[in-house]
């Protein structure tokens, strides 16, 4: 149980941050894709900037995880089609529903239960990908 507590707390922190930043808002996503505000770019940009610095410090200090291994980000597989096509399909859905997978769950917590329909559809999408995976170019 103690092992799971830290993940639960990280989740709570993440949920609070995304609500307070308004990144869970459909309106903010629309505004971002219209390039009408710096807000979302500021969030993503400063997150990546901070992330780069934190990872550089971890590397420099040879920081170890609580599991005893060196802290590192697993490398993504090489590829082009899966990233550009898969990414675009996700982008279409992100703009339409205004929610990526993190906010989907978080919004249920804010009392938007119709988001459960989006989550169910996302599970269906994942399932269909799993079925078609071997037939798709990657």
């Amino acid at each position: 149980m103690k092992n799971f507590l830290k993940f639960f707390l990280v989740g709570i922190f993440f949920g609070i941050v995304l609500v307070k930043s308004e990144a869970v808002s459909w309106y903010r996503i629309f505004e971002m894709f219209k390039f009408q505000s710096f807000h979302m770019y500021g969030i993503i940009g400063s997150a990546v900037f901070t992330g780069v610095i934190l990872l550089l410090i971890a590397k420099k200090k040879h920081l170890k995880t609580t599991q005893g291994t060196y802290l590192r980000v697993p490398p993504k597989d090489n590829g082009l089609i899966r990233y550009i096509v898969g990414g675009s399909i996700f982008g279409l859905g992100w703009a339409l529903s205004g929610a990526c997978p993190g906010p989907m769950y978080i919004l249920v917590g804010t009392g938007v239960f119709s988001m459960l329909i989006v989550i169910a559809a996302a599970l269906a999408g994942t399932f269909v990908y799993g079925i078609l995976k071997r037939k798709l170019p990657h």
Binding site: G15, L71, G125
Partner: protein, 185 residues
């Protein structure tokens, strides 16, 4: 406390998201929200239909715990840490949404035109949520990650595949908002 209840500026929120990513890496895991969709499919027995879902989903319980925490976090933030204020969207955004037929823009986190039950339970309403969700679920698994896995974690570790994926996110998003929305609304 009053400061917490106001909307947080981007320069506070962004670094906090990076800390979330970093904490999970520090615990020997990675930050990736869409992976949970695959885990939930596996839990539901999808392994019977595809090798993709044949893995030890119990090893992902930590990530499902993050999800439960995120739901609780959303609840806490919305009901205890927020003053009822409108989202301070840009005036152009409000004007554009008015033209598309959206009213009371920014009064709530999400437009009631899409998420209030009376609109969800119309053919168009339910189709939008189902199609939107389906594309997110399919696209994230195809691309191997979403905003958390690619845009935050992947870019922070300077990975080219993630940059390509994020470009894809924008291709899709821009097509939806600029080409499809005018037909849809």
């Amino acid at each position: 406390m009053e400061l917490i209840k106001e909307p947080w500026p981007w320069y506070v929120s962004g670094p906090c998201i990076a800390i979330t990513m970093f904490l999970l890496l520090y615990f020997g895991r990675t930050f990736g929200m869409s992976s949970n969709l695959r885990t939930m499919c596996a839990m539901g027995g999808a392994g019977k239909y595809s090798e993709f879902f044949k893995f030890d989903w119990k090893s992902q319980k930590w990530n499902l715990t993050v999800v439960i925490g995120a739901i609780v976090g959303g609840f806490i933030a919305h009901f205890f840490l927020s003053n009822p204020t409108d989202i301070s969207l840009s005036t152009e955004t409000i004007k554009d949404l008015h033209e598309l037929g959206f009213k009371n823009v920014g009064n709530s986190l999400l437009p009631p035109e899409l998420f209030a039950w009376k609109n969800v339970l119309t053919l168009k309403g339910i189709a939008i949520l189902l199609v939107g969700g389906f594309l997110v679920g399919f696209g994230t698994r195809y691309a191997g990650g979403c905003t958390s896995g690619h845009a935050i974690t992947g870019l922070s570790s300077l990975q080219l595949p993630s940059l390509i994926a994020v470009i894809g996110f924008f291709i899709g998003g821009l097509i939806m908002i600029h080409l499809i929305f005018p037909i849809l609304f």
